[in-house]
């Protein structure tokens, strides 16, 4: 669903690099959200993917050329998303946006999780579709419980809940803490009455048979 933002509020100038499936979708959603969008792609035919009513600015050119970036308005933009199919291209564009044009908010789509991890350590904000898809598929295939996804900056955190295992019934919540499995670490205990106890290492709350455990893990 595309929600139109109230006019004049939170309107940003956003530069999107790469007009593939993700880039085009992103541009359409950003514009529908009331933002000013400019998009760069080396292949002008890619702009056919944009919706007919798209009124943003399109620039044809190699994105790692400062002249092309300037033409697309990188100097005055509030945020920049590099979503070409080439990881290294995205990383280089992001670093140019960060270091040379001082764009306040910069994000790169990186397919290779290892590479994404390294450059995240260097301070580049990355989103890894491989990690996100793998997480979504894994949780659909293996757990049938309810799941929530929360985004902090460019990190994606998944919460999921499951019935407390039988062997934990009658034991304090602290016994479940520190237990890490493929679901992640224990975040809290959801009681049948809808209240929740946070999982603190010293928690003496007794786990009951109808309680549910909430796990949390960083997906990307």
């Amino acid at each position: 669903m595309r929600n139109a933002a109230p006019p004049g509020r939170n309107t940003m100038n956003i530069l999107v690099i790469g007009c593939g499936k993700l880039g085009a979708e992103l541009c359409a959603n950003l514009e529908a959200g009331g933002h000013d969008v400019s998009v760069i792609d080396a292949d002008p035919e890619q702009f056919d993917k944009l919706p007919d009513q798209f009124s943003g600015y399109t620039v044809t050119g190699v994105p790692i050329d400062q002249e092309v970036l300037k033409e697309a308005g990188i100097e005055g933009c509030d945020a920049c998303a590099a979503v070409t199919a080439d990881d290294n291209m995205n990383l280089m564009v992001c670093q140019i946006a960060n270091e040379i044009f001082h764009v306040p908010r910069v994000l790169a789509r990186i397919y290779d999780p290892h590479r994404g991890g390294v450059f995240r350590q260097f301070g580049i904000h990355t989103v890894c579709p491989t990690n996100l898809s793998s997480e979504a598929i894994l949780s659909m295939l293996t757990y049938h419980e309810r799941k929530e996804t929360v985004y902090f900056d460019s990190a994606t955190v998944c919460f999921n809940e499951t019935a407390a295992p039988g062997e934990l019934t009658g034991r304090p919540l602290s016994a479940a803490c520190g237990e890490n499995n493929e679901r992640g670490g224990v975040f809290g205990l959801l009681h049948a009455d809808g209240n929740m106890t946070l999982a603190a290492p010293g928690s003496k709350k007794i786990i009951r048979a109808d309680d549910r455990l909430i796990y949390v893990r960083v997906a990307d």
């Binding site: 080439d86 990881d87 290294n88 990383l91 280089m92 270091e99 390294v118 260097f122």
Partner: protein
Amino acid sequence: MNVIVVGGGKVGYYLTKTLLEHGHAPHLIESSRYLCKQLANELDVPVFHGDGTTLEALEAVGADGAEALIAVTGHDQDNLIACQLAKRKFGVARTVARVNNPKNAAVMKQLGVDIPISSTDNIARLLEREVDTAAIKQLLALNRGQASLSELQIPARYKRDGVKLMDLDLPAESVIVTITRNGDLIIPRGNTQILAGDRLLVVCANTALRELSKKLGLPD
């Protein structure tokens, strides 16, 4: 010296060959299986088939023990990322990147590549040097070509014969180090004159070389 060469195209091939002849130990990474086969047949060096912008490939060729990495693929973004990974993840002391778009040379330097080399720029500079400033002979490149020590020959018929240095308004990024006149060496001061037939030794930023030649009134 243990050197990693990323990219086995023409540049990578001849570079590896030259490094071998100079007694170094190059390791080659190339992403095309077909090229790898050819390279392995022709060169007596370890050839690794893989993407030189991944940690796995760099680890496989022993990046943590390498003294230098030279990235010479046809893509500036790949060359940048290979250098950055080598530098920051494996502590390789010297990184060299081939720059395809000359405009990217400054960017690469700013983003941490020790020596960005743009062949386009180099050829253009060599050409200009040879064609435009025949009276100037470059003797020594300083700081990887940023400036140079050059010899200038003042012609026998010099229209500004006898001009004082202080009246020349020489560019700020230039210094006349010595004047050789009739076999004698003069260390010049502001009131030293320049006479026809003098030989000048100058240190000058390459960007100011043309201006210097113009200010001295040398023929174009």
